[in-house]
């Protein structure tokens, strides 16, 4: 209770505030009606020059001045309806978010002040729960167990030290999990061996050229869970990991709170005491909370960025790692063998009536931000994730002749359709879902895509906005539909994009989007994966990229961009990962 009294009595209520209350009460209706959306000054806002929004890694190293303690306030946007076990949950997004907070993977990307991870050459993977690791030969990876790693002190694990058995059980559960089949198709695991109590050896069936990225990034990295997860505890309701945050409280629909792990393996870390993730589903509420200082961090939509910056001038803005999704529109299997789009020219035509530049700029509010000196560094996807190692930029023609299949060119599309034998256009069904599961932008994205198809004049579109359940089972799982499913946001990519390619186009993948048989493509995919010479592999990957552009089995759109985050200046040392963040002593409500 003392904290409450300190806060209340410490705050001063000025006469101005009281007068304002009275005025607001009587003039509320008129005031609201007169409110206008403010337009930014076109010549640029004062104080925001180009290049002025730094990356997190450009902030200084403040570890030396760290003041331990305090509760940092984040938030989460949805109810967590699934269980907590990332390997068996039915609610992937929320559980994966939670798992990333409480568990740790074997490897991690090296980050810190001065390390520009936006450049691929700077991305180095170092051991996290593995002390060392190396590719001994193209089919063998050796991991060394890190000593002195302790689990959270929760029964039945009770804070014991991590050992190799935990790794073994985790991999076992992973392989039995319905949600991680990608690991099997990617790495084609032959077996895992444990020659001694500190070493794990993973043997693959084939050489794996993308090598270094495996186990380090989202697709194939996995979280180490205690061996008790197999029998003595229920990982759906209990979260016991090794990360510096330990789940303290979970109140359904209310909050997630983590507390400091006392025996974290990184000495002296973390500095913070608590992590608060209240579940706030209403956007207006979240904005209000950030403006009021109840959240320390906020990631605005591009539309909100300038307005909130004006509302909260004391908050810092920083740029984060390039993000985004790869929205792909894919065809249904039901009549693929006989439909007009079995002909690649029809697929190319569909791609060419989509104005990707306008779409991307619209969704990222590009013009307004650019007018205020904020450049998001938009990069457009080809069939490869934009910015990945082998990606070629079709906007500059780097993709070669096949760049034109991404360009917005209705006349050319019409010629293609005529050449394919459809001078009067094509009838096509489009599919997307109307639930909130993929976010509000997904629905807008699908609607705009659908409108673009329709307005081109070349297609007679029958739209099918359906419920999420029907979409999940009919469209996504069984592919039992005729036509085009729009802008599915594909995420979880590695730098190499080999895993993504495999998942999308190889017949052994559970998520196959190709639909039509293509042995040539599969041969190319298999070959590049085993090609150890970097030069030759690069050539192969470029070839595949051009081939995919011509084939257009799926229609990619949008791309990657820099995302901007707000953070209050009370939070320091953000160049490092969160275990080294600390709060200044004058943070309001520091201890929660």
């Amino acid at each position: 209770m003392t904290g409450y009294w300190q806060r209340t009595l410490g705050r001063r209520y000025t006469r101005r505030q009281l007068l304002r209350a009275a005025a607001l009460g009587s003039g509320a209706a008129l005031g609201l009606l007169a409110c206008r959306a403010e337009q930014p000054r076109p010549e640029g806002e004062a104080g925001l020059k180009p290049g002025e929004i730094p990356f997190a890694w450009q902030f200084p190293d403040e570890t030396g001045r760290a003041v331990p303690g305090g509760m940092i306030r984040f938030f989460y946007t949805n109810d967590i309806t699934g269980g907590f076990d990332p390997y068996t949950t039915s609610s992937r997004s929320s559980t994966l978010f939670l798992a990333g907070l409480a568990y740790e993977p074997l490897l991690q990307l090296r980050t810190g002040p001065g390390i520009d991870t936006s450049r691929i050459e700077n991305r180095v993977y170092e051991g996290r729960l593995a002390e060392r690791w190396e590719w001994v030969d193209p089919t063998t990876i050796v991991f060394k167990l890190r000593r002195g790693v302790y689990f959270h002190n929760i029964p039945p694990v009770n804070g014991r030290e991590m050992d190799l058995e935990d790794w073994r059980i985790t991999i076992q559960r992973l392989q039995a999990s319905p949600y991680r089949v990608t690991l099997q198709t990617i790495a084609d695991l032959n077996r895992t061996e444990y020659p001694d109590s500190q070493t794990m050896v993973i043997r693959l069936n084939h050489p794996y050229a993308p090598g270094p990225g495996l186990f380090a990034t989202g697709v194939a990295s996995f979280w180490v869970m205690p061996k008790e997860a197999a029998d003595k505890m229920d990982p759906n309701t209990q979260v016991i990991g090794t990360n510096f945050r330990q789940l303290e409280v979970y109140q359904p629909s209310v909050t997630l709170r983590f507390k400091r792990h006392e025996r974290y393996w990184l000495q002296g870390r973390p500095f913070l005491n608590r992590w608060d993730y209240p579940i706030v589903t209403e956007k207006a509420n979240r904005v209000a909370q950030f403006i009021a200082g109840n959240f320390h961090w906020y990631q605005p939509l591009p539309e909100d960025l300038l307005q909130i910056r004006k509302d909260v001038p004391s908050a810092l803005v920083y740029r984060a790692e390039t993000q985004g999704a790869l929205p792909i529109s894919f065809f249904g299997y039901r009549d693929l063998a006989t439909a007009p789009w079995r002909d690649e020219r029809v697929r190319q035509a569909i791609s060419m009536v989509i104005d990707r530049k306008s779409r991307f700029e619209y969704f990222r509010n590009h013009h307004e931000l650019l007018a205020n000196g904020i450049d998001q560094r938009l990069r457009y996807h080809s069939h490869f994730w934009a910015g990945s190692v082998f990606w070629l930029d079709w906007t500059t023609g780097a993709l070669g002749e096949e760049s034109r299949f991404f360009q917005y060119d209705i006349a050319e599309a019409r010629r293609l359709l005529e050449a394919a034998g459809y001078p009067n256009g094509v009838e096509i069904d489009t599919w997307w879902h109307t639930g909130p599961n993929y976010g509000a932008q997904y629905i807008e994205s699908a609607q705009i895509f659908n409108d673009m198809l329709q307005r081109s004049g070349l297609f007679r579109v029958r739209p099918h906005p359906i419920t999420y359940q029907e979409y999940l089972t009919t469209v996504w799982q069984r592919r039992d539909f005729s036509g085009l499913a729009l802008v599915l946001p594909w995420t979880g990519v590695d730098d190499d994009f080999d895993a993504g390619l495999y998942a999308m186009f190889h017949r052994r993948s559970a998520d196959l989007f190709r639909g039509l048989p293509d042995e040539q493509l599969e041969a190319m995919l298999d070959r590049q994966r085993a090609e150890l010479d970097v030069g030759r592999r690069t050539q192969l990957m470029h070839e595949i990229q051009r081939y995919l552009a011509r084939k257009m089995y799926v229609i990619p759109s949008e791309g990657v961009y820099d995302v901007f985050n707000f953070i209050y200046p009370w939070v320091r040392n953000i160049a490092w990962p969160q275990h080294s963040w600390w709060l200044t002593p004058d943070t309001p409500g520091r201890e929660g």
Binding site: T81, S90, P178, P252, S253, N294, Q469, E470
Partner: protein, 321 residues
Amino acid sequence: MTDYFLRRLLLLALTLLGGSAVLFFAMRTLPPRDAIDLQVPPQTPNAEETKQALRRQLGLDGPLYRQYLDWLKGFFTGDWGKSLHSRRPIVQELKNRIPVSFELSLIGFFFTWALSFPLGVLCALRQDRLPDYVLRSLAYAMDALPAILIGILLLTYLAINFGWAPPTTFAYFWDDPVRHLKIMILPTVVIAVTSAGNLVRFTRTFLLEVLRQDYIRTARAKGLSEQVVLVRHALRNVALPFITVLGAAIPGLLTSSVIIENLFNLPGMGRYTFQALINLDYPVFITTTMFYAVVILTSQLVTDLTYAWADPRVSYARGTP
């Protein structure tokens, strides 16, 4: 009287039983797919076996009537099952959420009574004159405003102008009363505004009707002051039907709380129920619906009984429809 009470109780039990059966079979047979289909992708190796195993584990295999009987047995013994989605026991969730929804309904109830009734009386007394017009317009205007609009505007402009937002993490009244009150201020305001106009119309109409009755004329003829006529004779006769109608407003209060819960981050039953709908989580949905049903039917019974007890004219002897 007791006779009537027992009959109604029996009827209530039978209705609930029948309703639960209808609900159960409807939820299991109508959706073209079930929750397990949503949870296990067909690309999973051994998808069918996984689904079957999952079904067996969660008690979803076997003939439907047997599942219903098992569920019924569980209902009476206190084992209300687990959510299909989160695998968490439902009872636990309900224990946490019922107080919240109850509190919201209570607030709605209170404001409906505290605002509608006096407003309605005033309007009836000044029928077709300026106060009547103004008050009724105000009440209806407030009632017509969507709760969500009021909520988001309040949140936004309070934050911008005062830098204040309600605490994000919910606390029960007995855990942290001050924090709880701070959380409940805004929901209370929104509920008050949107429920003020609910029963103004009814109160006004009924009072007008009552004021035309012979016994009111007699009372005035006797020389009683208008005040006494109003309180002793008119209002008492309005109060009874008002209670009935208030009871009938309870279902509306229950469901309108869902929007408030989503808006202000309150862990209530409404949110739980609608999440269950999205996930086809039928045990949760049926349990919460049965809960609502019990509340509604009980409140109907209570209002009927109150009416019977309070109104000497009403007798619930056999044969009344």
